[in-house]
């Protein structure tokens, strides 16, 4: 019989323990809450799948989920093409490369709550630079606390400002890995700029773009801090995204059971979409 060296598992063990403590065990307590009702004092009553049913049938959940998908869709449809465009326009050699890279990286280095606070002040109608400019220079009424449209435009713009750089950096990494010979061959083959993009640059960026879209999907789908600081979910419920709603149910209303059920559904949706997308994008590579 063939003996196998299984010592490699010892190297994985620390990670396993770490993940167990920061993800698996907390998640199990969530599972625990999601099927029971409690009124405190550690007294639990079995509730079965009632909470799941309640969440899945609730209009409030549907609305928040709809807003969540809309938000993620909007930022992806803006950030991915914009990120690619900026990466294409960036220089490949010379003095400006590090300047561009560092400038690009700056927004990503700012803590999330600071980003929210910055944009909050930036857009204040009377003293914020952007708010003042719109209201008093252009004469366009712009007030996040009153207009849902203004609130949406602001959170989308904020996310684009904060995270397009990630797409840029990943796309740029894909672009610089293309050998010069490809561009030279395309020139000789008489390829147009569009053909060069379509048949050389885009295929070579495919893998990094898959990662970029995946990261941006997961991050934006779970976004909490920035819109919470910026709009607090308002005006009304117009910018109450899933995570904000979840926190309201869990910590505002202290409905731990429904909140636990909702977070598990939330988690399953994120996982399912990510898995579907990744499988579809890498399907060709496997064959």
């Amino acid at each position: 019989m063939k003996t196998e060296n299984n010592k490699g598992w010892f190297f994985v063990l620390p990670v396993l323990i770490l993940v167990a403590f920061n993800a698996l065990i907390p998640m199990m307590t969530v599972v625990n809450y999601s099927v029971q009702e409690t009124f405190g004092d550690n007294v639990f009553f079995w509730q079965g799948l009632d909470w799941f049913e309640q969440i899945l049938r609730s209009d409030r959940f549907h609305a928040a989920l709809g807003r969540q998908f809309l938000f993620t869709f909007l930022i992806l449809i803006i950030e991915i093409p914009l990120g690619i465009a900026i990466a294409l326009a960036m220089p490949r050699k010379g003095f400006w490369v590090p300047v561009c890279l560092v400038t690009m990286a700056l927004p990503m280095l700012i803590p999330w709550n600071v980003v929210g606070a910055m944009w909050n002040i930036f857009t204040l109608p009377d003293i914020g630079l952007l708010g003042y400019f719109f209201n008093h220079v252009l004469g366009i009424e712009y007030n996040m606390t009153q207009s849902p449209l203004a609130a949406w435009m602001t959170i989308v713009t904020m996310d684009v400002w904060h995270w397009t750089s990630l797409v840029v950096l990943l796309a740029y990494a894909g672009l610089v890995s293309i050998p010069d010979a490809y561009y030279q061959a395309a020139k000789i083959d008489g390829a147009s700029n569009w053909s060069v993009f379509r048949y050389i640059q885009l295929p070579k960026m495919k893998n990094v773009l898959t990662i970029a879209i995946l990261l941006r999907f997961m991050d934006s789908f779970n976004i909490y801090t920035e819109p919470f600081v910026l709009t607090g979910g308002g005006p009304g419920n117009s910018t109450t995204l899933l995570s904000i709603d979840l926190v309201k149910i869990a910590l505002g209303q202290f409905d731990l059971g429904p909140a636990a059920a909702m977070s598990l559904i939330y988690f399953a949706i994120t996982l399912l979409v990510s898995w579907l997308f990744y499988t579809l994008m890498t399907k060709d590579d496997l064959n």
């Binding site: 030279q184 061959a185 020139k187 083959d189 050389i200 295929p203």
Partner: protein, 361 residues
């Protein structure tokens, strides 16, 4: 197809070149006739790729002109010059099928699908890739990818020149030979002017009718493979071509005779001019024989190459290789070397300085 003329071509990668060493190419004048197979041979960094990129139009030379059939194309872009180039690493369009890859240069030039189809099928047959036409090009082996790159070059029937920039670098040794003979065959079939850049003498000598040997941005010699082997115009050519390369032995010249370790060595012909500077005798290992009489030398190394043996000797401080068939002398022993006079030449400052046999006769 076109005749290619390079006139007073110089190129420097620096904006303001001052000394000759600033130039990657130092004054090149060349004429390549229509339909010929040429090789640019030289070590890495000798300027051969620079020259190739200038001909293809990827690089604009600092000075001089390039003419295709007498027309100045120096300022034209690669696609306007109507040339094809095959690169060191196979360039294929991953997402396209083999068919679409081959059709790409034609479709970009707006040919109708019928013409495209006819050309692609013809080229595919020539390259023996017909059965792969429907496959995604990304999944091909390196040698097939390189074939597709070549195919994209050959698919346009009006192409002026096809250039190869060390195209066999990434190909497995046993396939190199196959692809090389395929190339030769292709040249005979399509009759396009072809320029092949390499640092591999075997590739250059098997492919080309005429080989241009370059060193440090200069053309050292142009000739047929036989000429380069038999009568190198420069010690560099002698050394670079042949395995092992030509023996180059420092000598003295007195009264029209070359003296090696005090003994006169017969040369192929009379010495031209009055030699001044570094004088050397050049003779290929194939023409050095070990016998009872001749120059005394000590054997320092014997390598058995299977087909023959290479005996390395020390002759008054200089190293001499001799190719020996049959039994070789023992290491450390003293032998006597003689050089075949008609293959023994004098080089002054690297350049040949003896009259050729025909000229002397």
């Amino acid at each position: 197809m076109a005749k290619i003329t390079l006139s007073k071509l110089r190129h420097s990668y620096y904006p303001n070149p001052s000394s000759p060493s600033d130039y990657a190419l130092k004054e090149i004048d060349l004429d390549w006739s229509d339909g010929g197979a040429y090789a640019l041979l030289g070590p890495s960094g000798c300027g051969k790729s620079t020259l190739l990129n200038i001909i293809s139009g990827l690089l604009v030379p600092s000075e001089g002109r390039i003419l295709f059939d007498g027309q100045d194309v120096t300022e034209l872009t690669p696609d306007k010059r109507n040339i094809a180039q095959v690169f060191q690493f196979p360039v294929i369009y991953d997402t396209m099928t083999v068919y679409d890859n081959l059709a790409f240069p034609l479709r970009n030039r707006g040919r109708d699908e019928e013409t495209v189809r006819a050309r692609v099928m013809a080229i595919a047959e020539m390259l023996e890739v017909t059965d792969m036409l429907d496959q995604k090009a990304a999944g091909l082996s390196p040698d097939n990818k390189q074939k597709i790159s070549m195919g994209r070059g050959l698919v346009r029937e009006d192409v002026n020149v096809v250039m190869f920039d060390e195209p066999l670098t990434v190909i497995d040794p046993h396939l190199k030979w196959k692809l090389r003979s395929k190339l030769k065959e292709l040249h005979q079939r399509v009759k396009a002017t072809m320029i092949y850049v390499t640092h591999d003498q075997t590739e250059a000598l098997t492919f080309a009718d005429q080989v241009v040997v370059m060193q440090d941005g200069e053309v050292v010699q142009i000739g047929t493979p036989v000429e380069l082997f038999e009568r190198p115009a420069h010690t560099f050519v002698g050394h670079f071509i042949g395995s092992p390369g030509m023996n180059v032995l420092p000598c003295e010249v007195q009264g029209g005779q070359a003296l090696l370790a005090g003994q006169a060595v017969p040369l192929e012909g009379a010495i031209t001019g009055t030699p001044s500077g570094k004088t050397e005798i050049g003779v290929r290992p194939e023409f050095v024989t070990i016998g009872d009489a001749g120059l005394a030398a000590t054997v320092t190394k014997v390598s058995d190459l299977g087909r023959h043996m290479v005996v390395e000797c020390d002759l008054a401080g200089a190293r001499v290789n001799a190719v020996v068939n049959g039994s070789a002398p023992d290491k450390g022993g003293t032998v006597h070397l003689s050089f075949r006079p008609d293959q023994t030449r004098l080089y002054v400052d690297g350049w040949i300085a003896t009259q050729a046999q025909e000229a002397a006769a």
